[in-house]
C-alpha cells in the first residue's frame, strides 16, 4: 500500500499533535493539556488515544477532527479516538502549560495531592492579575465546563480559573 511506504515515529506523531488546540483554551495544545494518552506508531494504521478533559465537553468531536487533519498535513493517516481508560485530571497539565494559562489570564489549577477535592485545595489559587492568594470561589461554573470564576480581594477583580479536577 502506497500510503504506508513511510513509517512515522511516535515523536513525529506527537509533534504533529502539538499543532492541535483545545478551542476553549486556545493557548494550549492537546499535548500540553495532557490529553494524548497513547500513541501506537507501529500498528498498520497508527492509533492515537485521547482522554477527554470533561465527559460532556462539547469540543471533543472538533478536537478529534483537528487532530486527524493535523496528522494528514504531515502525511500521517492515523486513527484518532477518545476513551476513558486513562483518567484525565488537572495534574496532567505540564508546568509550562500552567505558566501559559496564567499569562492568558486564566489562573492555573493547584496541584492535587490526592483524589479528594478539599476546600483547602480548592482555595489555594493565585490571582493572575496581581498574584495575591487572597481569593475566593464565586462560582464553580464559568463560561465553559473547565472554568470557574473567582474573586481577588487584593485587586478587587473577578478572574477566571481553570478549575481543578481530580
Amino acid at each position: 500500500m502506497e500510503t504506508h511506504t513511510k513509517n512515522f515515529t511516535a515523536e513525529e506523531i506527537r509533534s504533529a499533535l502539538e499543532q492541535v488546540k483545545d478551542p476553549e483554551i486556545p493557548v494550549l495544545s492537546i499535548v500540553e493539556m495532557g490529553m494524548v494518552s497513547k500513541i501506537d506508531a507501529d500498528a498498520e494504521v497508527p492509533v492515537v488515544v485521547l482522554t477527554p478533559t470533561f465527559v460532556g465537553c462539547p469540543a471533543l468531536n472538533l478536537i478529534r477532527q483537528s487532530a486527524v487533519e493535523a496528522l494528514k498535513e504531515r502525511g500521517i493517516h492515523a486513527e484518532v479516538k477518545f476513551d476513558l481508560s486513562d483518567k484525565w485530571t488537572t495534574n496532567r497539565l505540564s508546568p509550562q502549560a500552567k505558566e501559559k494559562l496564567e499569562k492568558f489570564g486564566l489562573a492555573p489549577p493547584p496541584y492535587l495531592s490526592d483524589e479528594e477535592l478539599t476546600e483547602e485545595q480548592l482555595n489555594r489559587v493565585r490571582c493572575p492579575h496581581c498574584h495575591s492568594t487572597d481569593t475566593t470561589l464565586r462560582t464553580a461554573f464559568g463560561s465553559t465546563l473547565c472554568r470557574a470564576i473567582r474573586f481577588c480581594f487584593t485587586c478587587r477583580q473577578a478572574f477566571e480559573q481553570f478549575k481543578p479536577v481530580a
Binding site: P52, F54, V55, G56, C57, P58, N61, L84, S85, K87, W88, T89, E115, L117, R138, T139, A140, F141, G142, S143, T144, L145, I149, K163, V165, A166
Partner: protein
Amino acid sequence: MQNALKELILQMADDALVLGHRNSEWTGIGPMLEEDLAFSSMAQDKIGHALALYTILHEHMGEPDPDKLGFMRKEEEYRCCQFVELPIGEYDFTLARHFLYDHAELIRYEMLVNCPFEPLAQMARKVRGELKYHVLHADTFLRELARGTEESKARMQAAIRYAWPYALGMFEITDADAQLAAAGAYAGEKERRSRWLSTVSSIINDAGLQVPEPDEAKAIYGGRKGYHSEYLKPLLDEMTEVVRLDPTAEW
C-alpha cells in the same frame, strides 16, 4: 447479569438525560447570571454523561446507537425516576431537587468505581470528579438560602418537604438489584439510600432545616419500571422534535 447491568446503566443514563434537559430550561431565565451559567453547565455535564452511558450500552452491550437510545424509545421503555421528570417549577424546587438528586448520583458513581464491568468503572472514576462540583454548588446554595431571610428559609424547607417523596423514589428496587449485588457489580439501592440519607441529613441539619421522615410508604415509585409521571411524555416529544427536525443536530 448482562441484562441487570443494562438495566442499571439505562436508569443512570435516563436520569441524567431527563434532568439535564430540565436544567437546561433555566438557560436565559435563571435568577442571576451566575446561576444561569451554573445550571447550563450542569445540564451540559449531565447530557454528556448520558451520551457516554448510552455509548457504553451501544459499544459493549449490543444496544442501538446513542441517538436511538436517547430519543427514539417509547415512554414506557425509559427507566428514569419520576423525580427528574417534574417541571423546573420555582427556583426553590429546582435547588432542592439539585441537592437531593446530585448527592444520590454521586454516591451511585462512587459505588461503581470498582465495578468488574470495566467501561462502567472507568466512567465512574472520571465522572465522580466532575460531580463534586455539582454537589459543592448545591450545598453552598442550600446553606445560603437556609441562613438567609425567614422567608427564604421557609421556602427552602417547603421545597425539601415537597421533593422528599419523589427523592425517595430514586431508590426504587427492581429485579436487577439483587442480581447485581450477588455478582459484586453494584451494592444496590438500599445501600445507596442509606448512604444518601446520612449525607443529606447532616447537611440539611447543619443548615438549620429539618429532615423529613424517610417514610418508605410515601416514596413515589414507578419510573424504574416504566411507569412515569404525566410530565415525561411532553418532555420526550420536545426532545425528539429537535432530533426529527435536524437529524444531524449535535447533542
